[in-house]
């Protein structure tokens, strides 16, 4: 039963949080400062998430094959490679480094 309570509370909380952002009145969003901030917040969140996915295992920072993969993706991006090539570069380099080191 307790588990169901936890699931219910989490589901409700997470849904409300998602809805809140969408329901902010358009008038507030028109203000230049709010516009700039709303545009920059996802950049900050996604940059932090990307870094955590690449360089962390749980709460421990790690530098492993994924870092090499992400570096390969970055190089591919600088070279203006198509999206799939960028992702493929990351996967192939990560697998390659793992195969060589592990």
């Amino acid at each position: 039963m307790n588990v169901w309570i936890a699931i219910g509370v989490t589901a409700l909380g997470c849904y409300v949080v998602k809805l809140v952002g969408l329901l902010v009145p358009a008038g507030v969003l028109e203000r230049p400062l709010v516009r700039r901030l709303a545009a920059l917040l996802p950049v900050a969140l996604l940059a932090a998430l990307t870094a955590q996915q690449a360089f962390a295992d749980g709460r421990v920072l790690v530098l492993d094959a994924k870092a090499a993969g992400l570096a390969a993706a970055a190089v591919a991006l600088v070279l203006r490679a198509p999206f799939l090539v960028v992702v493929a570069a990351a996967v192939v380099v990560t697998a390659g480094v793992r195969a060589m080191t592990g």
Binding site: L33, V43, A90
Partner: protein, 204 residues
């Protein structure tokens, strides 16, 4: 998936994916419950991980300009992946399509894999060996890169990375990413101060 192994029933696991639909929050909840945590404390941790979706909603609201009646339905799909895809589209039409397609695809796949995982289909083997775990960050990086148009965006991203990684070992799960979001107002404030000083100091 992992949660069936940690004491949740199949029904509970599937309900979690259907109703919560925010991967990080789900894992956090399952992890905390498995560790014997109090259900409300576990829910609070999961909630923290979901808070960033509110900031995504703020931006998506401008971008998608959805009719009021549609918003409660669209809200469930406001997550990392749909935001990053919608933001990468040059037009409103593209953003709406991107949001809808990504939302639907992920929702179906996520719940399907939850069900299959829960039923015990573990035939995929070790995906890490194939380097597939690097695909996630690479996709984010590829979609994020075009957004880093000016120095301001780059400064925000750089500061966010430092905060997100630096605070990871010391703060509870989900909080470092929220603190990293502070990079946006901080950089905006710094930029505002500099612009004000330039305005007063010269005629550039």
């Amino acid at each position: 998936m992992t949660s069936v192994g940690s004491g949740l029933t199949l029904l509970q696991t599937c309900a979690l994916s259907l109703l919560v639909f925010t991967g990080a929050s789900q894992f956090a909840l399952v992890g905390a419950l498995a560790a014997g945590g109090n259900p409300l404390t576990a829910a609070a941790g999961a909630f923290f991980l979901g808070v960033r979706n509110a900031f995504y909603g703020l931006r998506l609201s401008q971008l998608l300009a959805l009719p009021r009646a549609v918003r409660p339905f669209a809200a469930q799909w406001v997550i990392d992946e749909t935001t990053v895809v919608a933001l990468a589209q040059p037009t409103r039409r593209g953003a709406r399509i991107g949001f809808a397609v990504t939302g639907l695809t992920l929702y179906v796949l996520w719940n399907l894999t939850t069900l299959l995982g829960g039923l015990g289909a573990e035939a995929i083997g070790d995906t890490d060996a194939w380097g597939l775990d690097a695909a996630g960050p690479a996709v984010f990086l590829a979609l994020l890169a075009p957004m880093l148009k000016s120095g301001v965006e780059r400064a925000v991203a750089g500061l966010a990375v430092v905060l997100g990684l630096g605070l990871l070992p010391v703060l509870p799960g989900g909080v470092p990413v929220l603190v990293a979001a502070l990079a946006a107002p901080v950089v905006l404030y710094a930029e505002g101060r500099r612009a004000a000083k330039d305005g007063k100091g010269g005629d550039r």
